[in-house]
Symmetry: D4
Subunit: 253 residues, 8 copies
């Protein structure tokens, strides 16, 4: 990847390219040549993790094309999020696709064994939040994390939340997913002693304003250690949870 | 009060006023004469309760004038809400005023003994919500209710909320007051078995948007039995709590 | 219900379980064992009342499953809200379902006789608000309340509102339902002497912004005793009205 | 005023200016010369009405300068709105100014006798709306209208509104001014049979959002014949009321 | 209509009903008996004008039923607004309906000859605003006004607006209808010397936010004499225009 | 075009029309006669540029009619934006239409050779922004500009943006198109030394609120030289880019 | 701490308390006795870390009181955030307070040596964001983290951001703080390979709407691994960064 | 500036630094060394133009420090925007500062002679918009543009706008500045044939919502060639106007 720059430097070393010409070349196109793009660095550090394709707004053909390129480059696991049932059917004809209707996620290849610091808890306030939760859970799973699902533990029935206290207190990272009043993040944030990633959902009606209520509620959480991602962004939460759950591991490799 | 209508009817009866004239008179000014205005009816049913003056936007002179009229009409207890310290000083010169700086409420006269069904619990998420809570508590107290204060029991420290479970479960009505994420209403609504009046407060910063976050959160509460009043409206909550806590009593009298 | 804790305490008493082990067990799963969850307590207090299933976002199969469990546990009346016509048809094949198309509510079993303090008035501003009103009215009815319907009594035709003054003045609780400008709550709140539960509806167009206009209007009501639930939340209003209308009753039982 | 164009046409007629030159001149500055600007036309139609200066954002010097020009042009009455007390003092040193502290309006010169079709009713929901109401009332008065003030007739105390039913039903135009829930416009619109100009005010707190609640409520009024001006725009309402109250009069002159 | 009250008074006069009983009866149901409801009064003043049915949210059966009642009561012209094509077809089977697809308005009966003070100008910014404009124009026409249509005279092509200056300057009332930036109301308000009723439309995309942009723009108009009705409320504008255009006429009758 | 005014002036010169009559005529219809309307002037300055039809909300018949008139007036190139596939098919039956499905633009006639100062760069943050980008690119192309497309160069993969640094730095004008966080405009604005036209798109979900997030982000850009057009307004950006890219050219002609 | 429950169990074991009495006691106050509240657990795991007092809305006396209690309980380091200069002066009279005017933070006691996984980078878009940044940096420092400050590296001057690429790429956690367009979080999120905590600030004017623009922009970030806290919430970001930077460490202890 | 990279390349050429070491160095800090930062490139192209300091949020000391550095680097003209009167006084003590109270701008050094393509017109809707307009005008002037000021030409008095038609039609760029309804941009955009930069101002009250109304109105402008900058951003408009007015000039140099 950095061969172009290396080649240029060697030409400078050999005298076949003048210092001035090299200076100009470096000025005009520094990045694609030097190639320290994030994705690539990342690849080197944690071989074997899955690659993700964001399926929304892509045609089945485009998705297949991207997946093919990834597989040819040695990628063994690919997660496709926001994949419609119709697109999944088409992708499934050319690849061995494991499709989950609820989260609208498809997986090509093997799910790697979990290798994180601890467990990622994915909790939802209601049953309607499960599609977002599954997107988060599958993302974390595919990236190499053990996931514990605590669904329908909303704060209006606090005993359900508290029944899972041991899971909450032993988690490495918690993804708290809720629509409507979004209070789950604060309650879990107050009980847990680990980072809590809050995901507001667009579930609700009336003054929930498509997730705005839950979003504001979560941003205003009085519990420390809570941060928020976009409404319905299960993938983002799962990806961040994976990052946090592999904090030290990265350092060691 | 209804003497005008009675007099008119008597004149019709006596023949001193014709049916047509009486019909016209009744058409044009039915209300002030017939006098079934809410406040007055109410007065008759529950003698001895306090009268309330909303102090905001009124000059000390106006407040004194209104209070004087009330006292002359036999009112023994007057609550003045949203009363600035300066105005309180001025009112205090002509009347025996009991002024509370925190809630900015002033009381003239005796506080009646509580005669409600049960106890009114006033709970707040944080210490900054106390001014609104005290407005609610004083309103309820002055109208004849026993009030239990549970301050700073926000959901981020759930053990504090739960430590007061007996009070919450035995309450007749609960006023849940919170700013920021406003989750207190849902948590208490899920624990309690009585009506919960939620009061969002403008306490907070950033994405609390002056109480909007707490307001939306409370309106979206998944807990049944929760309803909401305006941001910072401690008086409204106290007044409604009193109504609910005197439900059956009213019937009996 | 609390048999687990009782059993544990007896084992401590008998010496078959050590104090330390018992302490640890109590620490880790206090709630499901001790079992003071709201719903259950509630059950004991008012035997015979209906159970409610929120149908939105649930499959017919899920609804049938939940209803079966309830019926097996001795529940004699079940209200299913937000039940689509299609789902109702499917539920109706296995259960004797009484389905109301307007409110999209279904009822399994007998409606209990009313046993509240007084009557619950359900008033709407226009005819378009009736679906929300019927959800409120059926909820209150099924929970054991006598309901008086005052539909299409909006403030733009004040004579219609005033024609029902006696009903308004004698009500135990009033549910005021309106879209557009939402002024009904204030007018009724000013006439009535009982708690008014305001329900904004998403009926309207343009600057009604899907119920926001009515919501803000109701929250700002100058009439005392008015509180607000979420836009279109007929069930919540009916449930709260039932709570208030059974205030003293609960105490006595 | 149109003398420039007339002069040009006469020069064309006389041959001292060529057709081409005249054509070019007319192209480039048509308006100031031809002079059919609204204000001026207006002036001719209704001699003797007052001129208005919007005082906000103008220095006392600027206000005095504008007033002087007007007076020199024969204007006998000048209304200055949004005039601060300090500015009023300064203006009052050079002119005979009649200053009203509540509405922050100043008047120079005589108030003309009313000559409209009927009476302009100015009604407010509360006492805090009076400053806006007085701006409207003084504007209408100064422009030649008889004004009836109905203050503090908010819908939460409907008997107060109804007590003034004859005034409301006989009005030529009604200006309904209210903050908070803004229901006054709908109630009056439903009672009256004339155009109602609704003025939302920024009076209120919490979810009134500086007049937004009243604004939306008034825009959504179900009563026919109601239109709305900007929040706190008393002047605009008074001006429009004058226009409507002089409808036919204009035609006759 | 007032026969009940008259009868009661006569009974008091005859002594068959006591003063006390009469007083009680008047207290409890004053309005439907006294009967000064707006609509009816209005009817008496201007015989022959059309009645209006708001078709949105009503079934064809309901519309037919209401129309039948009106016709039986001697109404000769009925305007039905917001009438879908399907409903129109059904109504058309039982009544002679004149249906306009663009404005979705249907008319039963004869259109009365115009009898207003002057002409009502209906102007739109673009061609997409025409459906709202036609609703306004048909409403005004059916209520007895001569209407001049100035469509697609938006301010971005100012010469088109100015080409119609004579119509604008001679109008009795102007309805200015525009989406997007809504500047038409200000420009026309600045040119005209009569009341301007501004109607924001939901036409537009992106930051027009379904009419919010035009609404705010119109509310902030610097031109005097401009007031605003709800987004897309062509009917409301037409109705108010009719009121204003019949100002003096009403007085005379 | 100005023949009417010229004719009038000649009649004044000849004495066949009096000065007074001419004055009156000029007063009442100045614009359509004098004819300095923008569009026309513009036509004269840059012969041969394309004419644009905004297709949204127009029927295929209307579009064909407008296009026919343009072609008859000698227009050789016509761009139709926001043209649905169905409408395109119909237009294509009577005219030789070049239709682009992605941008939903249709072109009749030849695309003129580019004659601007430099190149117009059209950059997008993601692939989903391409429809808006193509509307901008085709508009600029049809109006006579060389366009360079830099698609999917969003800031989250900064190396992709920087890989195109030479194009960015040499551009004459840049159109930066992005949804979601809209950061592209700031990054490009910081790198480039030419005007940047930012186009927020409605692409995104959750807290993107249909383009609001990108819109606010772009308006707040800290980079100098950035201005913003409406959400999804590719045409507006392309048109403005053409204006800027022909700045001096206009002067010379 | 759990001595109460232990004591109760021992009494049951000894037979001095009956099983029934114990059951009742456990039911009514489970939490304060059992004591698994988060804060306490936390205390045990990481002895020696600082305690934090949120100073806003607390009187100097209250702050001093809380600090005294903490110090008496053996706390060696206390961070006080949102501490006004006046309050700091008063606290400084009784305690050895290290006060920082820019961040309005005060520190009592020693700052512990950093013991996290790696370094916490605190980056700001502009110099005006520094107060929020310093609150974050001091919080992280006081909790035991090495902090690297990268101030004024906003994206409009991308070379400044890129000049610090090594710091960004080697960070353990990054706190990205920006007002206005908030693009910094996306750019850093795209460059870095670690969790990025985005803090929108209320810095800006106009369409920044007090931080709303930056907030929405950050929530919509296309870069993976980015989550958001409340506007201006430097403390929350610093606290969460500390949590993440001590992930594995916690596990080991 | 690029000496570091040049030196590195020379060392590679000389063999004193290995290719690998050079590659690593280039990877880690490419930008500050290579130095193609925008500002610097820009500087070289147009020697002699002014430098700008954004004064808001900077202390007088900081401003003086930055100015000193600029002056030492040979800068002859410095514009300081958003400079408070107090800060101006302090800066004025050490530098020869030309301070304008209205726009709160200060200028150090000589204003260069205008060298743009044509004239920059700065137009405002009202007199209250002048501070923003002067910021724009001074910015454009200091950067080398001839500026024509058209103040108080708002659309409500269209004749004032049209009186300046020649200036508008001959402008090279127009900056249209307006608060309230913001219609000025559309009207000017419809008249002019050059780029129009719209600046919404926060001038207004009520539903202007601090400039939101004008902002939305301008974004929705139907006139082509209009783009928008942030509310009150006079500087941004002036800077962009300068860029556009020097389009071809840049090319030639």
């Amino acid at each position: 990847m950095s061969t172009d720059v290396r080649k240029l430097l060697e030409e400078v070393h050999n005298g076949t390219v003048s210092v001035d010409t090299a200076l100009l070349k470096l000025k005009l196109k520094p990045f694609e040549d030097i190639g320290y793009a994030k994705v690539d660095m990342h690849r080197k550090l944690r071989q074997g993790t899955a690659e993700v394709i964001y399926g929304a707004g892509k045609t089945p053909e485009q998705i297949i094309g991207i997946a093919d390129t990834m597989l040819q480059n040695g990628q063994s696991t690919i997660l496709i999020t926001r994949l419609s049932e119709e697109a999944a059917e088409q992708v499934g004809q050319s690849h061995c696709l494991n499709y989950d209707k609820i989260s609208r996620c498809g997986i090509i290849g093997q799910i790697p064994p979990p290798d994180g610091i601890g467990k990622v808890v994915v909790a939802t306030g209601g049953t309607s939040d499960i599609p977002v939760a599954e997107e988060a859970a599958l993302t974390a799973t595919v990236l190499g994390n053990e996931v514990i699902r605590l669904y329908d533990v909303g704060v209006a029935g606090l005993h359900r939340t508290l029944a899972h206290l041991p899971d909450i207190m032993r988690a490495s990272v918690i993804i708290a997913i809720a629509g409507m009043e979004g209070a789950l993040a604060s309650v879990i944030g107050g009980l847990a002693d680990c980072p809590v990633i809050a995901v507001p959902t667009s579930i609700g009606y009336g003054a929930s304003f498509h997730g705005l209520s839950a979003l504001l509620s979560m941003l205003n959480s009085c519990a420390s250690g809570v941060s928020v991602v976009n409404i319905d962004n299960g993938f983002g939460a799962g990806y961040l949870a994976n990052m946090i759950n592999h904090m030290h591991k990265n350092e060691e490799e």
